[in-house]
Amino acid sequence: MKYEYKISGVLRKRKLNKYVYEIYVKWAEKPPVGTFFMVWLPGFEAIPLSVADWDKGALKFLVQIRGQTTKALYSAEKVGLMGPLGREAPRPSSKPTLIAGGIGVAPLLYMRREWGGKLIYGARNSEMLIPLDELGGEVIVATEDGSKGIKGTVIDAFKENLAKSDIYSCGPLPMMRALGEMARSMGLRGYGSTEVPVKCGMGICGACAIAGRLLCKEPWIPLHLF
């Protein structure tokens, strides 16, 4: 059965900043890049979390603290995992450009590990960034208040480091819409994903419908559709 929760042990967790922590959960099989899991904390709820990494039998998720469940999850010893859900993101033809807005960085970290490429990463301020020294490789940072890196949005930073193809981006819907507009006007080619309310994860409730697609089945959709 594909759509059931498998209870799995939490191996390790660590705060990355005031708002975000990472959590490692046992999981034997390497999930495809760009997929996500429904992560169930029994007694609380299940939330969709992108695969941020997989290594030696452990999945890594980044969790942004938002409510009861995300708070309690930090102390969990076991969680239920349903997944991997969605499907593998289309592969790039060369080193990709990864554009991350806030917690949208999570799936891009896994892409970067698998595919390499430049990461352009923005947040409101430096406090909301995850530790940059751990990211390795080429990282261009932007903060809206200028407290770190380029002052401005991640879109501003992208414009200064423009790529025309193999773009992968994940962030809030307004950011994705801005990229969609650029894709349509400038002919950028790439894929994007955004946080939507995934409720069933199976493609039937329709809560995650966007641009005529169900993001729970197809998390990475062509940028120009945003």
């Binding site: 759509y3 209870i7 007694g43 069933c200 493609g203 039937i204 409730c205 329709g206 809560a207 005529g212």
Partner: protein, 301 residues
């Protein structure tokens, strides 16, 4: 020529297939996905007067032969109806607005909005097994369900369908509601069920109890339709575990004139409708039936 056209409860359908309420019917983006498939009508999520968030996930979980869900009637409220109906207009498909509520005023309020928006019919959900004070609790209360049906049928002009579930008094309730002007029955809703995780030691669904759908309930649905058709010869839209064309035939042989499909979309996507259409046509040709009317209910004596 073999025709798949059928009329049910005053609604003319080019194809006897539609999605079950709750499936991809809560926003125009999702509904449009269904509209592109081989369906004869679109069915919205059950709409209440005001928006409802529904339950937190897990809202659905797979079992060995089906799914248990407790979405909790999450929906955008009646103000969203016009945009849902517009999808039907765009694709030339009738839209059936599923309606939920706690009393006759709420049902009527939503039904009126459906009618005013140009919906082709309303389907009163008197059988949701996982929303307190709504659904199944109403279906099991004959005086309340009668009041709701009476209010809606007397104040709207579009066809009124009623969706009922597996319950002791199904035939009797169906009979009373038909007398009150219901144009067709939609049978059956999901069946109350539960899944417990043996390592978490807890029910999986946040709502604990949910409704079982999928292949598991198909024989239960067939029997319910059989009993109702046998006693009442009513127009019926069958629903419950249909995943292949043979199931469609089985439902029609016991009295369903059209069918709704839910869980099968999880595995097959909207392509399931094309598969059902091709199989049904092939069977009709093999059996030398020209149209659906020729065999609806013939397994019932």
């Amino acid at each position: 020529m073999t025709s798949l056209e059928v009329e049910v409860g005053g609604l003319k359908l080019k194809l006897p297939f539609m999605q079950a309420s709750g499936i991809l019917g809560g926003n125009p983006e999702a509904l449009e996905i269904v509209a592109k498939g081989d369906v004869g009508a679109l069915v919205t999520k059950s709409i209440t007067p005001r928006p409802r968030k529904g339950n937190d996930p897990p809202i659905i979980i797979e079992t060995e032969c089906g799914y248990v869900n407790a979405v909790g009637l999450s929906n955008p409220g009646k103000e969203a109806i016009p945009k849902l109906v517009d999808v039907g207009k765009k694709y030339g498909l009738p839209v059936i607005v599923s309606v939920a509520g706690t009393n006759e005023e709420e049902f009527a309020e939503v039904a009126w909005m459906a009618e005013d928006s140009g919906a082709s019919a309303v389907e009163l959900n008197l059988s949701c097994p996982h929303a307190k004070g709504m659904g199944l609790e109403i279906g099991m209360d004959l005086s309340l369900s009668s009041e709701i049906v009476r209010t809606v049928t007397t104040t709207t002009k579009i066809p009124v369908f009623v969706k009922l579930g597996y319950m002791d008094s199904l035939v009797n309730t169906a009979s009373k509601l038909l007398e009150l002007g219901v144009d067709a029955l939609v049978l059956i809703n999901t069946v109350r069920a539960m899944k417990v995780d043996i390592y978490a030691l807890k029910p999986v669904l946040t709502n604990k109890v949910g409704g079982l759908s999928g292949r598991a309930i198909k024989p239960i649905a067939v029997r319910a339709i059989y009993e109702v058709y046998k006693e009442l010869r009513a127009p019926i839209i069958g629903v419950g575990g249909i995943s292949k064309w043979q199931d469609v035939v089985e439902f029609m042989l016991v009295g369903a004139r059209a069918v709704q499909v839910g869980s099968a979309l999880i595995e097959k996507g909207i392509e399931v409708f094309s598969e059902l259409k091709a199989g049904l046509l092939h069977w009709m040709q093999e059996m030398e039936y020209k149209n659906i009317d020729e065999f609806v209910g013939i397994a019932v004596d």
